[in-house]
């Protein structure tokens, strides 16, 4: 639902969130907001979505206890929520199925999406194919190179992939270009935003479609261990998988919520994407949140080995959870993430997405801090098939 424990007024999370967009988009955002609010109360919509979850994307996703990995994390109990096993390989499908259903109900024939790592683009192309919608995906040219496999997947699924050559040629610029398309084609087109950032209602709506992760995981962990976890960890770029697993635990005050941002070469080097850890409040892409910016309010380019986390902004609800002290955010460097990536491959037989590896590196830290009596729940947000070339280059494995 669009009202929640953290919404102070609709679309705002304390001083964060809101809508900072051209007036041309206000009507479309209002339309999506009311369609979403109506759908969340409509048993038919909810049943249709639940049916897709069960018969198409494979929900509920399972949990896996990572015992061999846990030996490297101070002996803490490590439980993985397996969003990597969803159809299309990540949590992104949860949001996309919801938004594509809404687009269809609103009579739109065309959807557009931005993508960084390509996971949201692939999920959008998938949902468009399933529902018979035209799909255009904007992707930074830089990302089309480092995630070439996902570009092919989107094309196979019938989507048009537009490489974006402006600015830093990454996710930030893909969002700008998608917004420009939307301003122009708003009557026929819905913008399927991929994360919990952007103007209201996107942060709220995307969270509503992702919170199923935490709802399932909370019950699954309770069933397995008989108690709530001590901490819930997830990687944070825009923050959709993190808000998805955090949300149902916000009320459980004793459960620590820990977001792991992309520290790149290290926050102190300035070459990172750790927006809450190393950024300042401001407005980017339609909402007030933390961002990486210079003294003139210009967005500073982010850096991360992970295309999906390589974003200089973050969802406003995370900014708020950080400000009120309910969630904590830490930066994980490329090197720490790649170590955890390799470790999960070799100890558990699971190749995670490099994005997700940031959460796993966080688990190694937090596990050692809390010791062997602790239980950590980690959102294994995506699988790493798309990252094998990057990993091969990183580890010097000849292709």
């Amino acid at each position: 639902m669009s009202t929640s424990s953290t919404d102070i007024r609709a679309g705002h999370f304390g001083q964060f969130g809101g809508r900072y967009v051209p007036e041309a988009l206000i009507g479309a955002l209002d339309e999506i907001e009311s369609a979403h609010n109506a759908a969340q109360k409509d048993p038919e919509f909810l049943a249709e979505l639940a049916h897709l979850h069960k018969t198409y994307s494979g929900r509920p996703s399972i949990i896996t206890e990572a015992k061999r990995f846990a030996e490297h994390a101070g002996g803490a109990r490590i439980i993985l929520k397996r969003e990597d096993l969803n159809h299309t390989g990540s949590h992104k499908i949860n949001n996309v199925l919801g938004q594509a259903l809404l687009a269809k109900r609103s009579g739109k024939k065309r959807i557009i999406a931005e993508t960084g790592a390509g996971q949201h683009g692939v999920a959008s192309a998938t949902a468009a194919a399933l529902m018979g919608l035209e799909c255009v995906v904007y992707m930074g040219e830089e990302d089309t190179k480092r995630q070439a496999l996902n570009v092919v997947r989107m094309k196979l699924l019938g989507a048009e992939v537009v490489p974006v050559t402006t600015g830093s040629k990454t996710l930030k610029d893909a969002i700008n270009e998608a917004m420009r398309d939307w301003v122009t084609n708003v009557e026929t087109t819905n913008y399927l935003f991929g994360t919990v950032a952007g103007p209201h209602p996107f942060p709220t709506m995307v969270r509503d479609f992702q919170k199923i992760i935490g709802e399932e995981a909370r019950a699954q962990v309770l069933e397995l261990t008989g108690k709530l976890p001590d901490a819930v960890l997830a990687c944070v770029g825009g923050g959709s998988n993190a808000i998805g697993i955090f949300y149902d635990f916000i009320k459980d005050k004793d459960v620590r919520l820990i977001g792991l941002e992309a520290g790149g070469d290290g926050v102190e080097t300035g070459r990172h994407a750790a927006t809450i850890t190393g950024g300042t409040p401001g407005v980017l892409h339609g909402a007030r949140s933390y961002l990486l910016q210079d003294e003139n309010g210009q967005t500073v380019e982010s850096h991360s080995i992970s295309a999906g986390l390589d974003y200089p902004g973050v969802g406003p609800e995370h900014a708020y959870l950080s400000e009120i002290g309910r969630a904590e955010y830490r930066a994980i460097t490329d090197a720490e993430a790649m170590y955890a990536f390799s470790l999960l491959c070799k100890t558990e037989g699971i190749i995670p997405a490099i994005e997700t590896a940031h959460a796993l590196a966080g688990a190694l830290q937090v596990g050692r801090e809390l010791g062997k009596d602790a239980t950590l729940l980690i959102n294994l947000s995506g699988r790493g098939d798309k990252d094998v070339v990057t990993a091969a280059e990183y580890f010097g494995i000849p292709l």
Binding site: G18, R19, Y20, V21, P22, E23, A24, L25, I26, G27, A28, T166, G167, K172, D173, N176, M179, R180, V183, T184, N185, V186, E187, G282, V283, L284, H285, G286, Q293, E295, N296, G297, Q298, T299
Partner: protein, 268 residues
């Protein structure tokens, strides 16, 4: 309060014509070149000038202004250069405003930004990505600095919302002629006149039309129903197609002269 911009529209209304409003990003094509463009605007008959604050993520702008903004940013343009350009324009006696996305204002300091506009004799600020719903801190600052707050409306803006937005506007209402981004186009969207007519039903504030206006014919057509004609990308194109700054400035001057005729021809 009455700003030079307010006085301009009183004058152009008495002359039964539209005002010609010209846009250039600060620092484009260079810091000195920008001042030369402003001089050409002033000499050739522009009525009001918009100084653009170049921004890294300009979602309302098409490729022409995006690239100009990038060039300017790479040359180090920041708030200081924006206010210098503004001061240069107002020193020429031309009513002038700054057009900027919201984040540079917030980063500079909301009140401080409004004060710096006023202290450089600027008339106001156009904020293309600040909906009135989030604008209270800004309009509070513009009121206390006695400058105009200019908001942009679009063909998709409902009548009810037009009333709400124009209630917060002063100086003029910026009517985007079409659903889309800035950039020169071959014709003026038919939606522009409908939008201006709808705006005029809810407010007496002057209405200026922008997006896609690039020729004398366009200016004439828009001047038939609007109080102001805004041209931006066409000047950047003129500069970009010239082989030197001098010939670019000449081309800008010629274009201004043509447009200045257009804004005087529209009322038949």
């Amino acid at each position: 309060m009455t700003t030079p911009l307010d006085q301009l529209f009183t004058k152009t209304r008495s002359e039964n014509r539209a005002a010609l409003i010209a846009y250039i990003p600060a620092g484009y094509p260079t810091q000195e070149g920008c001042k030369a463009v402003i001089d050409a605007f002033a000499d050739a008959g522009v009525d009001a000038i918009e100084i653009g604050f170049p921004y890294s993520d300009p979602v309302m702008d098409g490729p022409t202004i995006q690239e100009a903004a990038n060039t300017s940013l790479e040359a180090g343009t920041g708030a200081k250069e924006v206010f210098e350009a503004l001061a240069h324009a107002t020193a020429r006696g031309i009513p002038s405003v700054v057009m900027t996305y919201w984040n540079p204002i917030e980063k500079y300091g909301i009140e401080k930004f409004a004060k710096s506009i006023a202290s450089n004799s600027g008339s106001g600020v156009i904020t293309p990505d600040l909906p009135v719903d989030e604008a209270l801190p800004w309009t509070t600052a513009t009121h206390s600095s006695e400058i105009n707050s200019i908001f942009v409306v679009a063909p998709s803006t409902t009548d009810a919302r037009l009333e709400k937005v124009t209630a917060q506007c002063s100086g003029f209402v910026y009517a985007a002629s079409l659903m889309g981004v800035t950039g020169a186009r071959t014709g003026i969207s038919s939606g522009a006149k409908d939008l201006v007519d709808r705006i005029k039903k809810v407010t007496k504030i002057p209405v200026a039309v922008g997006l896609g206006v690039s020729t004398r014919e366009h200016a004439k057509e828009v001047a038939g129903y609007a109080d102001g004609v805004i041209v931006g990308s066409a000047f950047i194109n003129a500069l970009n197609s010239a082989d030197s700054l001098d010939s670019g400035i000449k081309a800008v001057r010629t274009l201004v002269e043509q447009l200045a005729l257009g804004v005087r021809e529209g009322r038949g």
